[in-house]
Symmetry: D2
Subunit: 508 residues, 4 copies
């Protein structure tokens, strides 16, 4: 079977190396001798699917049960066995979590209300692969209320909340997921969602691209009936653009990751809070007066810098892009090269999406007790591997906190082993997840209902009007009152009174 | 002669009403009996060309000289008469102002240095129509150093600094501009730039679109030799998009107004400072504890809100766009309808680009001493005309400050008669003008040197790499040190080490 | 035995009711029949001594050992038995914690260095009663290095870190404390510190006043040899002023609580951070856009407001004091009565030191999901008792988080049952504890070495010069470089070059 | 005649050198040959009395009239000649200014209303010496409404608004003041206020101490009838403390300068705004990205730093006091010595009250275009005299703006020749003046009505309750609603429900 990424060498476009590495890595997996037995369907798993996840994410402890869910007979109260979860008995607890989440996801609940009249997803058969949390459950049940049939797997082997999965299974959703899946479990679950007698998906909701990848590899013919893919993650979106450039994308895809609400809200506003939260929970440090260097001044970096400045830290910024650099200057941050401040700072935070931003050489020069952490999109930013040398001692002082000790006694405080601080050491507010979930729901509705020809075999951003709609559904949370254009004003501005209100290139 | 805006009725696009009004207004002008004599070439003048300009903009007072410059014999020290300014004797004073401006425009000076080797504008014949200030002079002399020949008129009848115009004329630049032109003077000056024996422009640099309009109307054949238009203003850019939609744009045009550096720096950062400056200079008010409503949360509104919040004001925001509205919420501002707070606020600031945002009804309900001003892009936002009724008394208490007094004694403090506060009541920092001027220079270079076919008869945004270059030229001002990608990192990210660093849809 | 608070009725001063209540409460205790046996020495325990303490405060779990430490035979490695801790074997773990704390308490370490030459506490016999944490251990060992002999008990029955107590005992400090003491244990431990053959304290270091109270009650004659009391807490300081007013204070006392560094740093800067930390750890809420009312705009309220405003919350303030109220206005907060906003806010935070600031009536009117918490100095601010009625359901959803559910389904989220949020739900940074500990050490040195007559039987604030010295010892942490006055400047200002630099009434 | 400062040599207290200098300077004046004629009564004028004052302070131009007011026959419309102003005909214009000021001084107007019933100043004969502005006029007319008779002179030879003085004279107030007095005029005016047939003052309201000084020198017997002095300025207060220490103060004096409302509001909040205003009006600079060093982190420095940080400047702080230094650290500013950053900063601001904080050596090392200005309390902070050397060229580029040019072409931008930036280059908001004026009025009422023995011959701070009352009178401006204690709460806190609410040492 052909590699899904296709032959990139002939492309006129720049291809990020990490994509190529990703492809190589899979090749390598494929070359290795196949493990015996059921659990070795494939090893081509995305990086994000194995990221560790906040320990706060588990509600109840069922560590005593060591049997694999795949080996259990499971049946919900209505007699259905079309699911695979850790323990169907946890359904009630999970239901309560879902109900609490519903209270904070008013936008999805509003969609449900509207769905009482029309069912925009009637006939939709959605296969999904996302983190399985109470918030996802609210999304899935909303999709159901809108008329869709859903089958669901987890996009990460650690992040499933077993209680929530149980509640969904109890309500009749075919869910295949549990916390602590093996890589084989991971693909097995995805396969169980897709490979069903008498049911074929016509929509894909993916987070990371693994589900899409699986269908490309195993069931390419399914794409004939699929109306579109909705993808949320940076990684998954990159994969889709790559497919598109290679001419291999055979259905329209919606890039939810780059929607305004995702970029500006999830990245800027959420990171503004989670950087403080992550640092406090792990180190109990005081921010006032601390010297911090933030590598990268994109949305994430902007959020981190604003928060730390507000808390009385002295913040330095590094950047490669002169426009972002000039923004940092105008916002009151000294723009430096990392080398210039590495000896004096108390905290180093990476937010670049790049690799080896903090090298062993930097780590060698940091002062005692310097804290190092990563808020960027993967675990490559800090060269953690370079710290695995014999002369350095690692000491785990708390969950997610390591002291790396130099021969002279100097200690570096490394958080989450360089993985995402906000995912590992803090929790994500429901409000932010609500914005993303609503965007996903609307993207599914748009792709499913779009007239023939509106979308081609390409990757699209969500229509601005939908972005605006997502935002408007969240305003009641803040008791915010939008002003409406008068007819005269709409005419003057050349706008429809209901939007969209801005040209596509508007930057917000 | 055909109206330059073309037949819009058949367009599929929304046409802002103010553009149509603009066209109508010109029609009306044309219908009026032509005034006798030289001064009536045309009356079709853009709104922005008659905006009043800060009084701070004049250095020396030559009010005694009442003779029109057009009636004077003028000659510079080298014997040239190819110019028309107020008083060539003011050249020395103007030269000193230009020298001071040069110190704060390092980016243009850097371009000049590079031009010692290559002359990217050799052969360029640029006709320009902009505000004529010390900063413009630095731009013009930079264009000259890059190889171009320039002829220049003013884009506003009030904004010319006579001393600077004199200095340019003395240095051999054919400049046709003075402070206090009549409308006929205005068009006469433009015509003198364009209508020259033995010289025909091949590039246009415009601010407001009047020069472009004039050539369309009078010398449409000139466009055969013109390689492109660079336009800075909102108004001028709208006109160009209109032409383009109507299929009437016959050369490529560069939209400088929507470049990142212009939008984010000129609007956000500059307004953050000028709102405070404009309010203080006019009213000496204290910001702390004041209740303010800011209408519109675009870049200008964001800047105003951030500054006032930082100074201890309590800020409310109104918005029509739910995305900007949600940003206002997340930034800590209550989103309201104007009616909800109009009775309680101490200051009302409009930043919408819309019309009649503040109506007579609102004004009637404001409390005593409420300050009303406009930071948006034209003077339509506050319905000032509605205040010209017999029962209200106007009292001019300072330059740019009127008290409008209700029969019951209530006073509203109206600033700059609803025109732009930052243009009328504060000055624009050279640093901001430097960013715009550098962008204009690079846009001219790009259009002039672009290989056949790169640009068609359309309106373009500046290539991102040029935006990044403009930014990079301004970093030394802040002693800011940019980080360079390693080869390995560039490969990993799939980027060229010299940029561009972001996809086109990146929002900054 | 006479009540230690004396006869207050004749005093010309206002006596806070809570002091009287406190006295009453003790009376009541005294009236109750004395319990049989060893554990009933007294029940007159201060409120603060039973405040619950952050669960983060325990390092290792030794829950299996149910024997009371008082019933165990304990001996350290040098053969001493003059201590009583949970488990002497935990000493090594505790020592490591102390070493880590030492790294962040440079001021005390600097004092130790200076002590190598002189021993300002030689001959001092200090009895102490404070929280027993790694930071306290650094203080105690510093006092030892300065020449003092120390005996120590815990000021709170929950807050002792057993491992640290073990480490101190192992090093030879007579420590009597463990986590989870009964009230009888509490007084027994204090008594063991004081009531020793052949050793009599000449200095008291107290936190809450219980130790002082005990000596007043049981060993009043000891005060003949005691040179002074150093007291840190609000409660303890109030008790001392009460004694002083009643003419019953028989030694000088130093009020450490109201020193500048304590008030401005511990309260303002620390609460600025801990309000965010406490809310996040308990609720994972998003701050952006939330409406918050902060009751009280003292140092704690100022810190809370600044932090929440910076995170994008909309903050309202209530105040009784017009000066603080005017500060709130100038800082940009709407000053309201609680009733005016109680229906609309998402969070209610009390910081008043008052009682019943949030009443049942307020709680009844709050909207669904409103969060209620207390940052003030005791647990009286929210009338939590009023929520213990049959029609309301309490649901413990996490540690320190209760949902109180109204019959109509409305839920109020109550944190730490109205006790101190920052003590209960976040941790206190070592840096802040370092400031307080250093102040305590210097206060002890000052009182111990003061010449006869400098201090009378009264309550004193730390001499400003000492406050300044404490601050100066903490500047190196920030790599901060102080400027020194020239001789000429010192003469001009009429100041000693080494301070004090401000008049006593200076407010900072 | 004895020097009013008395013999300081024997004092046990530190005497600031500038006080001694002040005395010396006066000695020197006295030694100079007395000028012939009427205008040489004395030369012993305070430094502050000759500080230049903002040019904005003049409304109408009467530069044509060169006759000295002392040489004119003046009579108001009621026939009185007991005044001396520039031009009584300007009264109407002045009255309008006073009316506008009344609108923004609600606290004084509230006092007037209460005065309709009681006249707390009935019988008071107040002699005043302050800046004569519209705001002062509102104060004087309020004192009149409260029952007092007033006579008034100016405390500064430049600051009088002639129109306002005329309006006061027209209303019957004996005012002796005009803009541009000579030093002899200055003392003559004061003398005319004091030296009156049949009228003797019993209260003094002073700003700078010159009036008090004059009475001490010329009419010491007057103090027998004087009930007290109210003094507002730093300088005047220092003089009073000096007198007190020397045992020469013969009446009670009220130090208004150190009242909470003055310190925290006038200094912190007002400077937070005026630093931006002063810099913008003089230089039109952009704050974003600029590097600034602020010398001194008292209230003024705190205000400057907060404002500049908020506008995107990078701010460094210098301090001599470790407590203020630690505050700067915790607020997020790097604490440096001036030398460490002098080469790199764009702006230097002094706020120390010290002398020679910026020396010639510093000035020599500054970079080109560095801006230097002073926000402290006198003009000694920058060693401006050191710049008056032949190799440096001074160029006046605007009012209050000098370029000092080094031989190599480097320019330093010196504002207001090192005098107070906020006084010279911006205006003071009426709201702040209202706070001070109300405090002065209440201080006069308190001293005038205090029972025998409450105040001795000493310098007092305003009773806290009065400070609180001043604040409460200003809350309605912000529509601020104060919470009232319940009886139960007041009892609990041991407070009177009407205040005072804080102990004397409370720092706010």
């Amino acid at each position: 079977m052909e590699n899904w990424d296709g032959k990139e060498g002939t492309s006129a476009f720049h291809v990020p190396e990490w994509m190529i590495q990703f492809a190589d890595q899979k090749q390598e997996f494929n070359k290795r001798p196949t493990k015996i037995g059921r659990r070795s369907l494939s090893r081509s798993i995305s990086q994000s699917s194995t990221d560790s996840y906040s320990s706060a994410a588990s509600y109840t402890d069922s560590s005593d049960d060591e049997t694999s869910p795949r080996d259990k007979q499971q049946k919900n109260s209505k007699g259905s066995s079309d699911f695979c979860v850790k323990n169907i008995k946890q359904a009630e607890f999970g239901r309560r979590e879902i109900e609490i989440a519903e209270q904070e996801m008013p936008a999805l609940m509003a969609l449900r209300k509207r769905a009482q009249g029309e069912k925009p997803l009637a006939g939709a058969k959605i296969v999904g692969c996302t983190h399985i949390t109470a918030q996802t459950a609210v999304l899935m049940e909303t999709l159901g209320a809108l008329g869709a049939q859903c089958r669901w797997a987890a996009c990460n082997i650690y992040s499933t909340l077993n209680e929530v999965a149980a509640a969904l299974a109890e309500s009749g959703f075919p869910v295949f997921a549990w916390k602590g899946e093996s890589e084989d479990d991971f693909w097995w679950c995805i396969d169980r969602c897709v490979n069903v007698e008498g049911w074929q998906p016509n929509m894909i909701l993916d987070d990371g691209g693994d589900l899409t990848h699986w269908i490309y590899k195993k069931y390419p013919n399914m794409f004939k009936k699929i109306k579109g893919i909705v993808e949320e993650s940076v990684t998954g979106v990159h994969r889709l653009y790559q497919l598109s450039k290679a001419g291999k994308l055979c259905v329209p895809a919606m890039n939810v990751n780059d929607s305004v609400t995702k970029q500006k809200f999830d990245n800027l506003y959420c990171c503004r809070e989670s950087i403080l939260d992550g640092l406090k929970r792990t180190t109990d440090m005081m921010f006032g007066g601390k010297q911090v260097v933030v590598c990268g001044y994109g949305e994430v970096g902007k959020g981190c810098c604003a928060a730390l400045k507000a808390m009385g830290s002295i913040v330095y910024v590094t950047e490669i892009d002169p426009i972002c650099a000039l923004q940092a200057c105008m916002d009151g941050f000294r723009l430096v090269k990392l080398n210039e401040v590495i000896r004096q700072v108390d905290i180093v935070i990476t937010c670049t999406g790049n690799k080896n931003v903090v090298t062993r050489e930097h780590l060698d020069r940091m002062k005692n007790s310097c804290i190092v952490c990563n808020m960027g999109h993967s675990n490559t930013e800090i060269d953690v591997a370079s710290l695995r040398t014999p002369e350095l001692t690692w000491e785990r002082v708390r969950s997610q906190v390591d002291h790396v000790i130099w021969p002279d006694g100097k200690r570096i405080v490394l958080l989450a082993e360089g993985r995402l601080l906000n995912l590992s050491c803090s929790t994500v507010p429901t409000f932010v997840l609500s914005i993303t979930a609503t965007t996903q729901a609307l993207a599914l509705i748009e792709l499913y209902n779009a007239p023939e020809g509106r979308y081609k075999q390409d990757v699209y951003l969500l229509p601005k009007k939908m972005d605006e709609y997502v935002a408007s559904l969240h305003l009641p949370t803040f008791d915010a009152h939008l002003t409406e254009l008068t007819d005269e004003q709409a005419k003057y501005l050349g706008l429809n009174k209901n939007g969209p209100f801005k040209p596509n290139y508007y930057r917000y």
